[in-house]
Symmetry: D4
Subunit: 149 residues, 8 copies
């Protein structure tokens, strides 16, 4: 069994690396959005030309990013969404909703202080983890049946 796992959400800490490191030796194929914040913001105008209006500047970029993100979510077996401490993170919650509607296995990684605000998101999830090691432990168990010692 190969698991395709999409790592959505926060792009300002190294949590993806921690999940991936924790899954060493497992048959997992990871994917993620473009995590270079500046590139992600500006890809639309960098490729297709400038826009005087910031709204359309953003739109052009967000639509190109959607080519990648929607496709990866559609291909994933597990969609793991990380909510961090900062920013609005509406794109993370959007991805969670998108994945839920497609029937994907949803795993949320969040600090306890967000529990109440994320209750509707969590209600669609199969697991709510507190740190990347738990996410890796879930993937290991799902693939091998082995529990953390």
């Amino acid at each position: 069994m190969t698991l395709a796992v999409y790592l959505s959400g926060e792009i300002h800490t190294a949590w993806r690396d921690d999940v991936i490191a924790g899954c060493t030796g497992l048959d997992v194929v990871f994917s993620a959005p473009v995590t270079d914040h500046a590139a992600s913001d500006d890809c639309g105008v960098a490729i297709l030309g400038p826009e005087p209006e910031k709204f359309w500047h953003d739109r052009k970029g967000a639509q190109i990013n959607a080519i990648r993100t929607r496709r990866e979510i559609e291909r994933a077996d597990v969609v793991e969404v990380r909510f961090g401490d900062k920013y609005k993170q509406w794109n993370a919650a959007f991805d969670a909703g998108y994945a839920a509607a497609l029937g994907k296995a949803l795993v949320i990684l969040q600090p306890p202080e967000h529990d109440h605000a994320l209750k509707e998101v969590d209600a669609a999830a199969l697991a709510v983890a507190r740190d990347p090691a738990q996410v890796a432990d879930i993937l290991r168990y799902v693939l091998t049946g082995a529990l953390p010692s």
Copy 2:
């Protein structure tokens, strides 16, 4: 043509009333989540019994609310999501993602200061409005072809 319109998102201002008032005479069937904040938070334990852990208190409620919200989104022709000034509003973004994955027509109502943070959500929407009157104008035009005078 009857339009089923689900009004998702912010529950602390009267924007739903404004949209509905603006659609007087149109063949629209509106639906919405339970907008009584306390009832929405506590429905799980009020009906099914108390939980010592806040996490499960929230979970029981959020799951019961999901019976209503998922069904209404699935039935809707248009999902209108309002982002307000306060709170995390991750459930609003989750609904937007859920609706987008189902191919619903998505209309977002948001103040300009959220434009950048909502760019991924907006990129899946067919319209981004600034006030409830615009939402009503869109629905009137979609149903009758009439533009605001």
Copy 3:
């Protein structure tokens, strides 16, 4: 909002009547399997002729019952499955799995002594109730936002 609710499971107590009575005045359309045990067992051979083998006697009946049950589940907004005290009740669990795969809102009604054995079923449900009044309370809240007083 009209809710279509399918009442699956146990046919030896009057729980369906209790749920329906508790929903007086609500816009709910209830459906159920044929609850006449003898008719349900023998419908195949009663209509299409006898079978010497009990296995095919059962098969003919179960397939005719499936015309009704699968269609009602597919049409339902909420699938409510009752597990009682007696019998194997595999058809109840089958209905729950069928409903879950179709993305229906699943509500389970079960006594606490079955909690461990039903944990996989419950994990797909949006609510686990203990008595029919709670099921009615859920439906009332979902439709009207009103909590039990």
Copy 4:
């Protein structure tokens, strides 16, 4: 032709080994739930932390197991469900219903004494076998056209 076969149900006898041994040389990819009963029961709390309430202890585990089981059923060409002599086995019937709703080829392995109780499950199946060798014979025939000699 490669067949993906999910072996659901009873975890207390070696029937999976028998099916797999009987398919030696065939192009079959087998999958199964985690069959270590203790790990399966406790995976939720072992990974994500303890729960004082047994109900939520079970729920956390069952949801993590669902990451694996639902995905394997969705990927399978054939879902083989074994009903044994003991326990409630509602998860087995749930899997059968889940697979049936997805249009999977369903093969049930059951002793004759369960025939009447399983008639609704069997009515959705393409074969009802009595022992693992028959299951292997079915898979061999489906893949190669060869009948048991």
Copy 5:
């Protein structure tokens, strides 16, 4: 519960009338292909102009008939297919396959002499009846739970 029942197949005997008469008082909405053989054969050229080639003459008609038949099958809860004594009746078997792939409840009405030739069709059906009265009895039981006296 209203049942939408599509009556496919043989158009040279009055079996549809018999089924409909047997369902007096039931909440069934029947539909059928155009049963005027000449109109069904010639509708394409009668409406859209003549074709020198018989193959395209037939094609134009069959495609117009498909507007009706595919839509009715897609809308039906039950697809009842009658195989009679004469003709190739490949359109009947085609309808049965079409309905099966859509997950419709399939009821076949056939004389015993066709049993072997129809075994693949029957294997996808929930009932195989011998006369129109049995079909009506099935629909009555499905809707009301009443068995023939």
Copy 6:
């Protein structure tokens, strides 16, 4: 049987009126895009505010029109697409492709001089008509079995 028919395509002649007039007395519910050319072009900026760039002016309008057109196509039983003598009419061909992918019954209304250019579109259609009366004749036949006298 009620037929939902969406009349897509050319908006500069009265062909829709002719089809509708030809269907007098039939159980057809017609729908169409907004056929006021100016309103259709400008609805985006008229409702949501002006855009300095013509590209986004068009985009805002086209997206609002899509709320109506996609929904009507999804609801339709028959999608009738008219290609006229003028303009690029790419939106008509787009609608045809959209309808084809959804498995809708597609009827094309086109002059013979477009036959070669429309061959890929026609290849997905169940009928190619030359004038609105033929379209009405098709709908009459589909609903009643009556051919033009």
Copy 7:
């Protein structure tokens, strides 16, 4: 591009070999039902034990064959159905209907004398061929763009 092609229908002549031979060098993966007539008829009872009733004897076999045939049709890009000179061939027409409902590319191979009887089947097909060489030519063209010289 690899094409998965399912060769359905007649099992008494060598037409499958002819198609396959004609596709030498092409990237096609062929599949087919079990073409050993006796094995296909008796597989149910040979594996699962005898049935006194011929009807159930046939049913057990047809259901096991369906494990293979339905799966192959669902996996196929092209479903090629051959109608020969003999037998009822309702299973061939059933496969064609099944494939059509799934949106598969359907190619029919039939002698001209069956044209009228097969007009509904042909109306769902993208090609009607007269001999296996034409089928191979179609597959070659679809894969490489090369026409027969």
Copy 8:
């Protein structure tokens, strides 16, 4: 991540080669319709025999081409549609609509003079490019996150 990209539309310039050359080193699998205009027009009659009527000559060819084009669109992650300077190009717009209804990521390549006529098509697209190099840049960014320098 491998991206399957279908290059639809204009067949008279070398834009496909330019896109492909611009993607050197990327994990993209390109596909396209048959771009030999004469072969594409005549494949039907060349393989299946002549037709006296041009309409059916075209139909036979267009249907065979549809075996390839529909399948490639269904398999694609990204559908790139090029509108050139000449011809009606309704098949390009049809492909865009077909892809949009399937939820594919749509990228349009068009000169500015077509912007107004293509506004409904563009409204369904995630990017509108002006030259093949931009298309390649989009694919490179989607796959690697790298922007053009």
